[in-house]
């Protein structure tokens, strides 16, 4: 256990150095205020670096992490001392909001602690958990990289899953000095904790605590989130990364501040390396921003370039190794003939994913998102509302497209993965709810909340 905690402390240290280096927290006051964001930033950044190094057979262990953390902290803290920007919290918020929101956040922490206690004794049970993700994590630990047969031979199909999550697991195994398929589940609880920290940090000074806390608790307590997270599959970690990416880029759209765009871009980039669909969800976010941030297209273009730069080494690896994509071919998505021939799959896909979207297991997350959109529209925050709706439509439509071009019989495909692939759409949309409603609240309170 100490090894896992040590590795995660180093993720936090790396994130702390990166906050000033990436101008997410350019000065001392901002660094203190946004320090909780350091952990998810550190996890995302280290995961990206580890996943890339795995492609050239360079393992990242405790020694390398210590060196990396020392270097990043040294340059980051040097950078923060030189900055002179001032900070001030502008959001007006009544006492009851802070109390209820704070209570909801405490309840979220208690729930995560309860999940931790279960995860630390839960073995790999679900088929894909050990057959795909467990095998890849263990192989990265055993071989130090991804050029061997486990990642390139047809015997080990499917091979298309990127390496961020297995790379983080492999770091934990190296830190523990052994392969422990049970204790590594603690990393999953820590990812949920990182999501909570990032979510609060990205919203805290913009959105009343009651909206932040209640939304965080609503997301984390939804049954599929902690249940699916415990399986060791990458769907929920992907959802957390995409959600943080959406909140960051959404805040940038609403306020014009650059730091949430930088943070959001990092999370979207990490999402592209968490699962293959991550690239698609990230591109949907960037595309959904285009019509509403056209006048800031240069910044948006840089963000898109950063996301592509993050995913590029993996895509090159896939291409150079000629790794087969067994379930579908991307080129079928732009082939009118293929789409026409398989159009009978669209109806079942829409109905199947729709029923997952409106499943009672999610509680009221979907109505929450819809009412939040209405709140933003009523407050005339059309751009933010438009971005949220467009991303959700693109994300859902894209999922339908994936099932449309899949080679697996549609009923089977939906049974196997429908409840998992929808997680990112629901969690991503729900994560935008406090930003949307917060915009209406801010208008109501008469404070800008921007810095």
């Amino acid at each position: 256990m100490i090894g896992v905690l040590l590795a995660n402390a180093l993720f936090f240290a790396i994130g702390t150095g990166l906050l000033p280096l990436l101008r997410i927290a350019p000065d001392r006051a901002a660094l203190v205020e946004r320090l909780p964001l350091a952990y998810p930033v550190g996890v995302a950044a280290t995961g990206i670096v580890a996943a890339h190094l795995a492609l050239i057979d360079v393992p990242l262990g405790l020694v390398e992490l210590v060196v990396l953390a020392a270097v990043v902290l040294f340059f980051g803290l040097r950078c923060v001392r030189e900055a002179t920007t001032s900070n001030s919290l502008l959001l007006a918020e009544p006492r009851w909001s802070r109390l209820v929101g704070g209570g909801a956040l405490v309840a979220s922490l208690v729930l995560l602690a309860h999940a931790w206690a279960t995860y630390e004794i839960r073995p790999l049970l679900e088929w894909d958990g050990w057959a795909i993700w467990g095998t890849r994590s263990r192989a990265l630990y055993e071989f130090g990289g991804a050029t061997g047969p486990v990642f390139t031979s047809d015997v080990y199909l499917p091979l298309q899953h990127p390496l961020l999550l297995p790379s983080l697991d492999a770091i934990d195994f190296r830190a523990m000095g052994t392969y422990d398929p049970t204790l590594v589940h603690v990393q999953l609880a820590l990812l949920a904790f990182g999501f909570l920290l990032g979510f609060v940090s990205l919203l805290r000074d913009r959105v009343p605590l009651v909206l932040v806390g209640a939304s965080a608790l609503a997301v984390l307590s939804a049954e599929p989130v902690l249940k699916q997270l415990s399986t060791g599959l990458a769907d929920v970690p992907l959802a957390f990364l995409v959600a943080l990416g959406l909140v960051g880029t959404g805040r940038w759209l609403a306020t014009g501040e650059r730091w949430p765009l930088v943070a959001g871009t990092l999370f979207l980039g990490a999402a592209t390396l968490a699962k293959s669909e991550g690239l698609f969800f990230a591109l949907a976010a960037l595309l959904a921003l285009v019509p509403f941030a056209w006048e800031r297209r240069r910044e948006l273009g840089l963000a898109a370039a950063a996301v592509i730069a993050i995913v590029l080494p993996w895509r090159l690896f896939v291409s150079l190794q000629d790794l087969p994509l067994v379930e579908y071919r991307f080129r079928d998505a732009v082939s009118p003939g293929y789409l026409s021939d398989h159009s009978d799959r669209v109806g079942p896909a829409v109905r199947g994913l729709g029923s997952e979207l409106f499943s009672g297991d999610w509680g009221l997350l979907v109505p929450l998102f819809l009412v939040a959109v209405v709140a933003a529209v009523l407050a005339r925050h059309y751009a933010l509302a438009g971005f949220a709706v467009l991303w959700t439509v693109l994300a859902f439509g894209g999922l339908v497209l994936v099932y449309w071009i899949s080679t697996i019989p549609i009923d089977l495909a939906l049974v196997w993965s429908g409840d998992r692939t929808i997680v990112t759409v629901v969690v991503g949309a729900a994560a935008l709810a406090p930003l949307l409603a917060g915009a209406a609240w801010t208008s109501r309170e008469g404070a800008s909340g921007t810095r």
Partner: protein, 147 residues
């Protein structure tokens, strides 16, 4: 009260109500899992993926003790199905990929340094073995040492 304010209040109410609806079930599921799983020993936890899918973990423990880093393993398995509906040879091969690491599973017997059999004798393959071990219905036959 304007429609905008109503919408904001509705969001707060929906988020809190959503948590109230889902939190008890999620909490209970986590508690039940903990109660069920805390009885497992350390060895049980390692073997759990196999047991959970009705795969013959005892045989795989024999295989695991007989292979080492650098080995390439061919899995010679009897016909049948697993709990997931996939055929037994595929299920056994998939579990071997995970459980026998750092040994590597191969598709062709002639590429293997070790052949493991589940309900089928490696001699059926017509290879020459340096050593053979059998604990019915499991077989381990070594072709050569890893290079």
């Amino acid at each position: 009260m304007t429609p905008r304010v109503v919408a904001v209040w509705a969001c707060v109410a929906l988020a809190l109500l959503s948590s109230a609806l889902t939190l008890p079930d999620t909490w209970r599921w986590l508690s039940d899992q903990r109660t069920e799983l805390e009885e497992l020993t350390a060895a049980d936890r390692i073997q759990a993926p196999g047991f959970n899918n009705r795969l013959p973990v005892g045989g795989f423990d024999l295989f695991r003790a007989s292979v080492r880093r650098g080995d390439t393993v061919y899995v010679h398995a009897r016909p049948g199905t697993t709990v997931r509906g996939v055929d037994f040879p595929t299920g056994a091969r998939t579990f071997a990929r995970y459980y026998l690491l750092p040994a590597i599973v191969v598709e062709r017997p002639e590429d293997a340094t070790v052949v493991v059999g589940i309900g089928r004798d490696p001699r059926e393959l017509g290879l020459r073995y340096r050593s053979e071990q059998r604990e019915e219905p499991f077989y381990v036959a070594r072709v050569r040492d890893p290079s």
